[in-house]
């Protein structure tokens, strides 16, 4: 694929590295700063253009006509959006824009849909999601996310002697009284898409889809230790903190935020009425101990300084048994930091890059079909495909239980303008939805392929 990257900051540079090297795409980079261009073209086998990526003539000259994907990662949200928009009109390509201002982010779905963008990435939001996942689930549960991280497919192994042993899938609701959708079961090397009469056994690897609050309830009921932390102390009150706190509160976790700036504290307390906001210096040991550092079960160091974050986490580690999350912006010294023995280090820039690369991979796999996105699951034994329902068709408007689906196909999620529906038999697909289908055995190229012939 030919991919154009506009903006060669750290993210652009890392993307150029990975996409031109390991992923083997043809990369064109555009930046206004000649020094950055010469650096990236000297280091990697990419083509560079100096110019403003939001300019039509610059994009034309950089060969937007033959470009399949444009990634706008300059430091300005507006330029990224404009650039993606112009690229879409000028050439025949998909566009990814990095938008980090929370004002736009809450409107991400609208922007994406109305501007026709393939993806809007918010590094802070993505990093916060990653952190929230660390606090919510233990390592025994693996998570595949799709619909841009909105739908989480939770994968776990049924322990020996568990309640779920010998339970048919249709009885789960009756037995546990909680609603989850079992999407896939891997037994040994084989992967099944279970019907209602499928009987689960111990040691099966089961993938479920559920709303975040239901998921922890489910795991509690079946007796799988979720290790969900009951409370989290966050030092630093930036954007990531806001997104993280929002997610944690949503999942029912107590959040305490320490922030130095009075004004920001007031903002946060307005935005997050359920969190307790402490105005003070997070590097003050007494303050931390006073706020119960020793009893806390989750600790996140999210100040703007990498060094401070690392020291805070090391201090927290010495004083408590909390699960630690440390934010580090600079990737350069990752090996040194990994050796410090901190639990989880989150690099927001790295997560942004990973997200985009994951998208590029799925785009490459789904080329030439109507699939919006494609995700490989369980070591490529199954696929999750995302379709956008653009027009009336035989699958639209009919309750799902009435649809004659092929074997080994399951509709596991419907994304209706950003709202996620875990579908039951009565739910219907509407025009404008994007539908996530899990499938084994076949390749399907169109939503109609799921129906029995």
């Amino acid at each position: 694929m030919q991919i154009m990257i506009v903006g060669c900051g750290k993210v652009g540079y890392t993307l150029a590295d990975q996409l031109s090297g390991e992923e083997d795409h043809n990369i064109i980079v555009v930046d206004r700063n000649p020094d950055r261009i010469s650096r990236v073209t000297n280091d990697f086998d990419v083509m560079g253009y100096v110019g403003d990526g939001a300019s039509y003539s610059v994009l034309k000259e950089a060969d937007i006509d033959n470009t399949d994907l444009l990634i706008a990662v300059t430091d300005s949200d507006e330029r990224n959006l404009l650039c993606s928009l112009i690229a879409k009109k000028a050439g025949n390509c998909k566009a990814i824009a990095r938008v980090r201002n929370p004002i736009y982010s809450s409107e991400g779905e609208f922007l994406k849909r109305e501007l026709g963008l393939a993806m809007i990435i918010n590094p802070e939001y993505a990093a916060a999601s990653e952190m929230a996942r660390i606090f919510r689930f233990p390592s025994a549960i693996k998570i595949d996310t799709f619909a841009k991280g909105r739908i989480e497919l939770l994968r776990f192994r049924i322990p020996v002697g568990n309640k779920l042993h010998d339970t048919p899938v249709s009885n789960i609701r009756g037995k546990l009284g909680c609603e989850v959708l079992v999407c896939m079961v891997q037994r040994g090397e084989e992967v099944f898409i279970p019907l209602g009469d499928f009987v689960l056994q111990e040691k099966d690897i089961v993938s479920i889809v559920a709303a975040p609050s239901r998921a922890s309830q489910f795991f509690r009921k079946i007796g799988v230790e979720t290790n969900r932390v009951p409370n989290v102390l966050i030092v630093g009150g930036g954007k990531i903190t806001f997104y993280l706190a929002l997610r944690l509160i949503h999942a029912g976790i107590d959040v305490k935020i320490i922030e130095q700036n009075r004004q920001r504290c007031e903002e946060l307390s307005e935005l997050l009425p359920k969190a307790s906001i402490i105005c003070g210096d997070g590097t003050d040991q007494n303050l931390l101990l006073e706020e119960g550092l020793e009893q806390i079960r989750g600790f996140a160091a999210l100040t703007n300084f990498d060094e401070e974050n690392i020291l805070l986490s090391l201090f927290a580690k010495s004083k408590s048994k909390a699960k630690l999350v440390t934010k580090v912006n600079r990737i350069s010294f990752d090996e040194v930091i990994e050796n410090l023995g901190l639990d989880c280090i989150v690099y927001p820039k790295y997560i942004t890059t990973e997200f985009i690369i994951q998208y590029v991979r799925s785009m490459q796999d789904s080329m030439g079909s109507n699939v919006e996105n494609l995700y490989k699951l369980n070591d490529n034994r199954a696929e999750a495909l995302e379709f956008l329902i653009k027009e009336e068709s035989p699958v639209v408007g009919i309750p799902l239980e009435k649809l004659q689906l092929k074997k080994n196909i399951l509709i596991c999620g419907i994304n209706r303008y950003g709202k996620i529906i875990i579908p039951g038999g009565q739910d219907k697909i509407k025009v404008g939805d994007s539908v996530i289908v899990v499938v084994t055995d076949y390749r399907i190229h169109d939503i109609l392929d799921i129906l029995e012939d």
Partner: protein, 479 residues
């Protein structure tokens, strides 16, 4: 300095040279000549040595700019050293120094010869001599980059060191694809010229050797009087293809991509064609009494101008006998050279353009000390780095030039001979004036003088810096 990687790539160079050497073997088989064995023998030798170094890829494959320059200059020397062996073995050129001179002259597309009688050579040797032009024209590293999958941004360092021009750009994002496109264009031009020359009545052997000499802008022929003995039609075809080979290959890429208008806007190409037109007309007017008709006068004028400015070095007449004015124009054209990104040598039209613009800017700065003016070409701003490196290039160019003239002075030949011999080798042209004129050869020089000229040829082809870096102690330090 990553010695492992340097040896690995040099090993690959020898493998490729072994493959190249099989072609003259085929020619020898075709003409039933004994000489084929010398080529076969050297091919096997190259392959054995090549495989010893290239069978295992070193663990550390990183190539930085420093390694890139050293590999390229060392590669060209190694290639020439082995390419000269067949001439010595089959007795066509008994002295190894002479054979080396001839081979370097071939690979660097100079076309300066030490042979008094070209026609005495075997067909296989003649073919190899011309084929070295074709390999050297676009560059052996570009060829290797097109074929070997050397992943990473580092391979740009190889291309930069070998491709001519003040700032080397890629045509498409990948170095490998760029190299393939360049060789694709090169190959097509070669085939077209070959077909046209055969159609115009040349024998297949003459056609292929002269095609190699033209598109590589080399200048080795198969006849002692160069192209004087061929028909006007053939001379005209060669004129056109010499001029075409001196055009920046980026222009052909634009034509393939259906953007021919942008070609007309390329300042370098316009300047290049303008210089050719003006010089040819001035010379034609100056030598009008020497030929029978205006048609003949123009044909010879355009041929000689095209041959010199593209640094090919073919001749249809002995221009050493022309009036001073015409000779002076040709000498100046020797320095100008062809376009950047072509197969020609010389200072390059784009550098001349940048220099002229710099001079203009400097003059304006003197009269308006506070004026701000950026130099632009083809509508794009030229970075200060490029202007600076162009200035330094010119300084180094003349330093090398005058040092070489000084060293040649020890041979006690006349100044015109020495001056034009250096001009003809440093600019990869071939013939100069007086004792090294179109009908003469370079055998008059002593062995040390020949080494100076060999250095000039390599320095000229690789644009000075790679050769200088090869001899700079700092580039051989481990860190």
């Amino acid at each position: 300095m990553n010695y492992g990687m340097i040896l690995y790539i040099l090993g690959w160079i020898l493998n490729f040279e072994a493959a190249f050497l099989t072609l003259p073997c085929l020619v020898a088989v075709l003409y039933q000549e004994q000489d084929g064995f010398s080529f076969l023998g050297v091919a096997v030798l190259c392959l054995v040595i090549g495989l010893i170094f290239s069978h295992k890829k070193p663990a550390n494959t990183s190539l930085y700019a420093r390694e890139g320059f050293v590999i390229v200059s060392a590669g060209w020397i190694v290639m020439s050293a082995f390419g000269a062996l067949p001439f010595v073995l089959n007795g066509d050129i008994p002295s190894y120094v002479d054979a080396l001179f001839e081979t370097i002259s071939g690979f660097t597309t100079t076309g300066a010869s030490i042979l008094a009688d070209v026609e005495a050579l075997s067909k296989a040797s003649l073919f190899w001599r011309s084929f070295t032009h074709w390999i050297g024209g676009m560059g052996v590293f570009v060829f290797i980059l097109a074929i070997l999958p050397l992943v990473g941004g580092f391979n740009m360092n190889l291309m930069k060191a070998e491709s001519p021009g003040p700032s080397v750009g890629k045509l498409v994002p990948r170095v490998r694809n760029t190299a393939m496109i360049l060789y694709g264009i090169y190959f097509i031009i070669t085939v077209v010229e070959f077909v046209l020359l055969v159609a115009a009545g040349m024998t297949a052997f003459d056609a292929i050797t002269h095609t190699f000499g033209t598109v590589g802008t080399g200048g080795f022929g198969t006849h002692s009087d160069s192209l004087a003995g061929f028909s006007p039609a053939i001379q005209n075809i060669v004129t056109v293809f010499m001029i075409l080979s001196g055009v920046n290959f980026g222009a052909y890429f634009l034509i393939i991509h259906k953007k021919p208008r942008q070609v007309l806007k390329m300042e370098e190409v316009r300047m290049y064609l303008g210089i050719i037109l003006a010089s040819a007309l001035l010379i034609a007017f100056n030598v009008r009494d020497m030929f029978g008709s205006w048609g003949e006068t123009l044909r010879h004028a355009f041929f000689q101008v095209g041959s010199i400015i593209t640094t090919t070095g073919f001749a249809t007449v002995d221009f050493d006998l022309w009036p001073q004015f015409s000779k002076t124009i040709l000498i100046i054209l020797m320095f100008v050279g062809a376009c950047a990104g072509s197969t020609g040598g010389g200072i390059k039209v784009s550098r001349i353009t940048i220099l002229l613009k710099t001079i203009k800017k400097e003059l304006r700065m003197i009269s308006h000390p506070r004026s701000v003016k950026k130099i632009a070409m083809d509508g794009h701003r030229i970075e200060h780095e490029v202007v600076r490196s162009t200035n330094v290039f010119i300084a180094v160019y003349f330093l090398v030039f005058f040092t070489s003239v000084l060293l040649l002075g020890m041979d006690e030949l006349d100044f015109t001979t020495n001056f034009t011999a250096v001009a003809a080798t440093l600019n990869n042209i071939g013939p100069g004036l007086e004792l090294v004129g179109p009908t003469q050869n370079f055998s008059i020089f002593s062995a040390p003088a020949k080494f100076v000229l060999m250095f000039d040829m390599l320095a000229g082809r690789l644009e000075l810096f790679p050769m200088l870096l090869l001899f700079a102690p700092s580039s051989w330090k481990k860190y």
